[in-house]
Symmetry: D2
Subunit: 346 residues, 4 copies
């Protein structure tokens, strides 16, 4: 039984994390952090916690938290964790950061895309990028775990086997991703009000979304190339789910079955990656679960492969993967507390 704290527990990702942690057999939640709702019972903000916990939201001091926590989850806007996580903190507790501050190894790229300074650059080297399927061994020993972004998780897992095996032109990649509205966080912006979002779809931040360099970093590592790709996200009228269509030009003449075998080999032992074989993923089949579903098609007419990935943005794309990382970091079975069957239709 370990003691866990969550800073930023009342955003959608933080709340999802709490939902998982409160049912995790190896975890006791010792602090629910929320600046906006400090002093209020969590169950008054999210009424699904009625009968679950009487915990009050608090704005705990980092020094206190490190004393009482075996692990601290941070679910905060970028720029805050890079201030709060220091070498001193890491001596006393483990950190799992759901934000972006420790994802990019190159601080210049971070500062260029996020338009803020990084306050603990020296920790970037130590920080482990928590995509379990790619960095499991490093994760086990990590003190500072940087949990990947939602679009990122889906995109990298979809493309990794192709890049690793040099089957596509790394400079040809286009990722066209569609996200549910929870991806935008809990918002009071009119632009995210029901009537403005319902019954419409739009692309946003075309070519300029901050998950781009993160995907490039990881795919670059896999392929051994410095690559540039085009990433386009969409706001889709549904609560949850990411569907990523990844387009790339084939450099081999492998057919669909050949490529699928590459994926089967690559993900052979991965519990949370499901290959959909001759079908393609749909977000409804992963909703509420920690699975990443992946399928692919080859378009012989244009010699391209289209890989389709689907995740729940708040589970495998955030809270579920954070707990998967925690499980690894503390030596629990990787599936503990996150082996959900998607509830359907939900």
């Amino acid at each position: 039984m370990i003691k866990a704290s969550v800073i930023g527990g009342t955003g959608y990702a933080g709340q999802e994390l709490l939902r998982i942690l409160y049912r995790h057999p190896e975890v006791e939640v010792v602090s629910v952090g929320s600046r906006s709702f400090a002093g209020q019972p969590l169950k008054d903000i999210y009424r699904n916690y009625e009968n679950v916990t009487d915990a009050l939201c608090e704005t705990a001091d980092m020094n206190e938290l490190v004393e009482k926590s075996d692990v601290i989850f941070m679910a905060l806007p970028h720029g805050i964790a890079s201030k709060q996580v220091t070498g001193e903190v890491l001596k006393k507790t483990k950190i799992i950061d759901l934000g972006a501050d420790f994802r990019l190894k190159d601080v210049d790229i971070y500062e260029q895309w996020y338009k803020v300074n990084h306050y603990n650059k020296d920790l970037l080297k130590e920080a482990v990028y928590g995509l379990c399927e790619l960095h499991r061994e490093d994760i086990r020993g990590a003190r500072l775990l940087s949990n990947p972004g939602c679009y990122t998780t889906c995109s990298i897992l979809s493309l990794a086997p192709l890049l690793k095996n040099h089957l596509v032109d790394p400079q040809s990649i286009i990722i066209d991703a569609k996200s549910g509205v929870t991806g935008a966080g809990r918002s009071s912006d009119t632009a995210f009000s029901y009537c403005e979002v319902n019954e419409s779809i739009k692309a946003y931040k075309v070519g300029s979304h901050r998950h781009t360099p993160e995907i490039e970093q990881e795919l670059g590592l896999l392929s051994g190339t410095d690559l540039k790709l085009l990433f386009t996200p969409h706001l889709t009228p549904m609560n949850r789910g990411i569907l990523a269509l990844c387009y790339a030009s084939l450099t081999s003449d492998m057919d669909e079955e050949g490529l699928r075998q590459v994926y089967r080999d690559f993900y052979r032992d991965e519990y949370f990656v499901r290959l959909t074989e001759d079908k393609l993923p749909e977000t409804k089949w992963v909703k509420g679960s920690n699975y990443c579903d992946i399928g692919l098609k080859v378009d012989k007419r244009t010699n391209r492969v289209i890989v389709v990935g689907a995740i729940d943005n708040l589970v495998k794309g955030a809270a579920g993967q954070a707990v998967q990382n925690m499980n690894l970091m503390f030596g629990f079975d990787e599936k503990t507390g996150i082996d959900f069957i998607t509830d359907f239709p939900v």
Copy 2:
């Protein structure tokens, strides 16, 4: 060709009104009022106006507006129109108020339910309640037209024939109404954000919604009784539409066919009321139109009648009815510019 101004043109009701007015063959829009967006082109706020108008939003002075307008529509929160509409104003132009300030004849009831003072009580007597199907002749001569509320329109039209003909116990009425989310207006409140509203239904202001006294006033007039009813609204996960289920205890032993004949007689010449006979209304069939669909069932087991009414809250429940009133006030054909066929599925 008359000149029309709209004050509060960038709320959902105001915008719907502009959409109708810009295609009305007898109307020229001379001012689009909006305090929030003053100085900005309407088409920058609502991009459906691209190619339609280059009008800028403005916060026009009432004195200026009365000079250049044959009619001024006011689509404002309650408490403002009661200040701005004066006897002087009415000497120079006609007013159609989509708000609540001039709907209740009894100023005490107004002040009790709305918790504000009324600043021009003397005009309450002159104000005509703009439910065309009930007050057509008075509307034709009106200078100050008070446009009914959305729930109100649907509820009164659904029950009017029963009350007028003394077929139900006036003290037995329960109205259980469901509204789309546009009914709450254009909002930046987190409570109306997509993820909080989507895939859920709730009742609100049970027994305390401000449309209650308005319904009581009109049904009281029809029945010649001072009645009290219970009104319950719901927030339904859809953009538009109101469905009102009106329950009442029968005082006669009329069967369904008998009651339907009463409705046919009552609404014989009403273009915008459609009786659904052996089917019941659904909001999809009235969406985008100025129709009110009405159907009914008798429950012999409990000796009750259930009348079901459906309207589009922004059309017959607001902007469409406002234009229907304008048509009457200026001697145009009542259907001019609002004879829409519901677009389906939309």
Copy 3:
């Protein structure tokens, strides 16, 4: 560890049941029954079962099933279970019927509302009505458990304390209930296609829904009266959830706090009933959970109480309650395998 079979496992309720059973620590699923999909892997029909089970759907013979099952769940259209469940069957295994065949004690009422003959009337007396909060002790010893309907569960739980304590006129009850679309089952009817249901709400079977006599039976038992009530269901554009507004005339002068205390006393030890106190239930807070949330308002103007109940129709309204019953029947902790925290926003 008990062995469970599900007949009718590919409808929405059956599938929800399987989802729960496959994660229940005391259950092994030994047969997934489906006439429509016999011979096909469950995971091909519901792709959320990928990585969960390779079970094939089958149309098992009842004689075989009773031999290998400690409990058989039946999730079938009405009229089938009444043929298949016999005294012989009950000697060998326990039955939990999610259908309607054994809910009504009076076979005449059953045959009148369901328009079919009942083939094992003699078992009606033995059958236990599985509303755990009302019949827990009988459930523990049951061989034939009749699981309540979805609307029924929500309505009875909402009204039980009032009827039991004679606080309302039993003949004054009106229940206006709104259900998500899963309530209609998995359907290929155009009337339930996305575009026909989306963005619209309608009432159906007003005064004639088959859950009516079931609610009357249970409330009649509680109040000791033969009562008739009016029940109206609605199809709401969302996947899951039931919200029931229950209107009744007060016979005492108790205020809201007094009535709430009655509810607190009545449900003191009930884990799966949550009282929302000064707030009202919303379906989003119970979705995916086995909770029934209940709140109330008093309308002094008309001397009525309005009780609002909310459940997930597929969980507390079907599969969750079925497992709650199973837990009781086999002596497990009542919460085992169904103690879900609502996932939000989902």
Copy 4:
């Protein structure tokens, strides 16, 4: 005043067409064709026609229809119009075919993609492809008008200026398009039932959708090249709207402003094409209108242009464009009867 018939009037596109025609000032509808609903009043199938028309659906004989119609609209599955439209028919009336049979000039490509024989190949040459913005002069004189597909219209209009001006590599095009559910037609397939479609997104027919050769034909004509592109459609949980993201590699070093000027020049006189300048299109702003909104971004990092197009699939993508074509063919003002302002939020 011309006489128009519609064959296939009860599909979603046919119905949308009727809605427009019944309010078109120059048109009298003389026949509503429907094999499925022959003999039934249109208003019984689509209740929005109550108060609009008492027309009965009929399965009129083509010989009769040509005698009484100035124009016949055909909204049928592929393979039927190619049988029914003959040289004899065209001598007597004008045909506007909303189906696919006369869109592809190369009959081999038609038969290869549609897997049926074409029965009147000799008419393919005469048939005019009814994308008004590209073929206006030919349309004016057409007897046989082939109305473009929905995805097609949006994709071609989005890319035409680039191909015409040789600004992109014609072999580099990827179109990732998202459609509302009406695009699948009125369906009783479980796969399109509310609960299966709601709250999920999926790609389908990746690289194999039949609109692909149609887009290639028109873009090939514009560019003077035989090009192959990759087209991927998605089913999006909303009723209406298409959003197409068109990716292509730039062959010039033009920046965004330069490219936008190309679009402004190309569409200078086009009423129904709106350029969104520094914003990007969203489907909500075109819903219910005949507009095609187009915007673009340049991604300098990968030297690609992303053009975003949005239309209402049932209006500009089907019925609205059909009427736009009719207006041209009969010498009416091109906007007559289709100059709708998008109703918002709807």
